[in-house]
Amino acid sequence: MIKMRSIRTKIITAFLIVICVTIVLIVSIIIINVSLENRYKQINQNIIYEQQLKDNIWFLVEDIYNALKSNDYIDYDKRLAEIRAEESILDVQFADPSVNEETKLDYRSVKNSLNAVIDLTESTRKSFESTGNISGISNIFTDASTKFDFVKQNTTDLLFAEVKNIANTTQDIQKIQNLLTPIALIILFLSSLGLTIFSILFARKITKPLISLSTIAKGIIDGNTDLSVAENLLKRKDEIGSLSISFDAMIKKLREKIIGLELSSKELSQANNELGDSKRAITNLLEDVENEKSKVEETVKIRTQELSDEKSRLLASINSLSSGYVLAGMDGTIILNNNAIRNILEVDKNPKAIADLSKYFDKFDLVNSCKECLISNKVINIKDIEYKNKFLRLFCGPVSNNGQVIGHVLLIEDMTEAKILERSKDEFFAVASHELRTPLTAIRGNTEMIMGIYADKVQDQDVREMISDIETASVRLIGIVNDFLEVSRLEQGNSVFEKTSFDVSELITKVTSSIKLLVAAQKINFKLLRPESLPNAFADKAKTEQVLFNLMGNAAKFTKEGTITISTALEGNFLKIRVSDTGSGISEKSTSLLFRKFQPAGEQALARDVSKSTGLGLYISKIITEKMGGTIGLEKSQVGIGSTFFFTLPIAP
């Protein structure tokens, strides 16, 4: 750290010097005055003592005279002690070196005279005490008076001497004062002058650089950045120097800042322009956003209303359901249910949880079924749940949101009436089949006999034809009834399938023979194609025969003249049986309707062929094939060229 000759230190030093000089001056004047004053007092005191001494000497003589007379020396001793004390003061004064020789001589004289008087009184006393004689007293007094006169003279001399001393002292004081006053005044004047000069010089030394710095600062404020602090200021080692260095550094920094600022200013200006553009863009954007916001708000309002409507509709729908509706969370807590659930289960209170609901069932574990539904994430459909004297049907479907299962919905339907209806339907079919088939049996049987056994008895050609028509019609009616019953049985799952392993080729040969007999009048060539070895099929043989009969019968029906090819092949784990004909074929628009209920296999899809078809053959074949684990379909068909149907059967394990 640089040791600075501080301006403050300088000022303080200057003032301290002036103050010290003044104090010294004042103190010395005081000391001189006090010492002179003391001297004055001392001399005065001396005068008082000497006056007293003079009186006491006289009184001493009187005292000794009185003591001698009264033989009482008390007063005398007292007086003598006082004189001795005063004498000792004289000794002290005598010893004082400041006392001049003349005065000292006076002291000596006084003392000698004093001692002479004392000696006189003392010798008187001694003589009196030894002789008891006061005869010489008058001599004594005369002697004493003489000596006293000396004392008196000497004391007076001394007093004069003292007065002279006073005069001397006063003179001394006068001298000193005469000397001191101008000196003090001169010193004070010089100090003041020095201080003033120092102040002016110093002030100039301080203000000058400050003005210079101030000028620079003003210059900088006015934008003049080229100014710099003078070298001499920078070299100074006081506060000004420090200030200048800092100022200089500040100017340099400022200059850099200004340059930086100018650059920044340019950039700022540019940025400002860009900002202006951006601001405009943002304003436009904000306007757009505001417009969009209004639109969105409007849309949200509409959607909210729609949602609310939707919710009302949904709730109304749920409440109007005849099925029991329950919406439950993952933990089985029931969130929503309709009134129908209480009616169906015949309970008064709304269930709180699936577990509560489950308690009503004796023979069915509802909780477990719900769990199964949630775990598998699939709809579970359970029929024929016995509940009191009812039959219920349960649907349990998971409720998902974004692929996460969050609960499940239960639909419980009262199927009791449907069940009764189903039974009635079964019974109806049973009765109908019996009641319809029985008279038909009689009609066909009788016409068959007329046309056979009694043929020769019916000679009239018209009657013969009529009877033949009756037979044909009855056969067709029987076919219709049988097909109806068959469909009903298959649809209700009442058909019994007995799967066995059998040779399909054998069955094909058998059916072909039957068909050949039926179409003997038509010029049809049958071709059977099969590989050398073929595994057995695993299916219901009688029903396979029915399918085969249906497909081959159709082929024969629509081929007045041509070839019917039945080929068998192994495809994977299935046997594929194809029935191709060179018959009339089916147009593309009709193919989509095949295998549906009441759709005949031929081209007359929509216009019913009144001859033989019930339109149920392919439909029955499809159900049968699928129930046996196979598939059935039309492979290809072209009008005028022919059709190829196929069906597959699983091979025997």
Partner: protein, 128 residues
Amino acid sequence: MNTLLIIEDDKFVGDMYARLFSLNGYEVKRAKNALEALDILDKDDVLPSAIILDIHMPEMSGTEFLKNIKQNDNMKDIPIVVLTNSFYEEDEKKFLELGADLFLIKIKNSNQDILEKVNKVLTEKSKI
């Protein structure tokens, strides 16, 4: 001459089958229901060569009748041909298991077929 007992509650069907078998050399006896048939079997000294049995009949069903016959040592060997229009597929299996010799659906078989099949059953039985 073979004797047939035809148990058939429907008159027209019964008439037809009676005529069919009569014309083809059978001696035909008829019963309108199973109870009547049991009566006939009780009263007659000679048992029929075969019984043609319908299933769905009032009073006593074909099932019960068949069980009765099979429990009767005298009659248990009489060939039974079930001739019915039953809707139930499972009936065939059931009756064959109960001891019927032949199960035929009336409507699915022509008179000629029925005649041939019954003849065949009787021929086979007579061989034993």
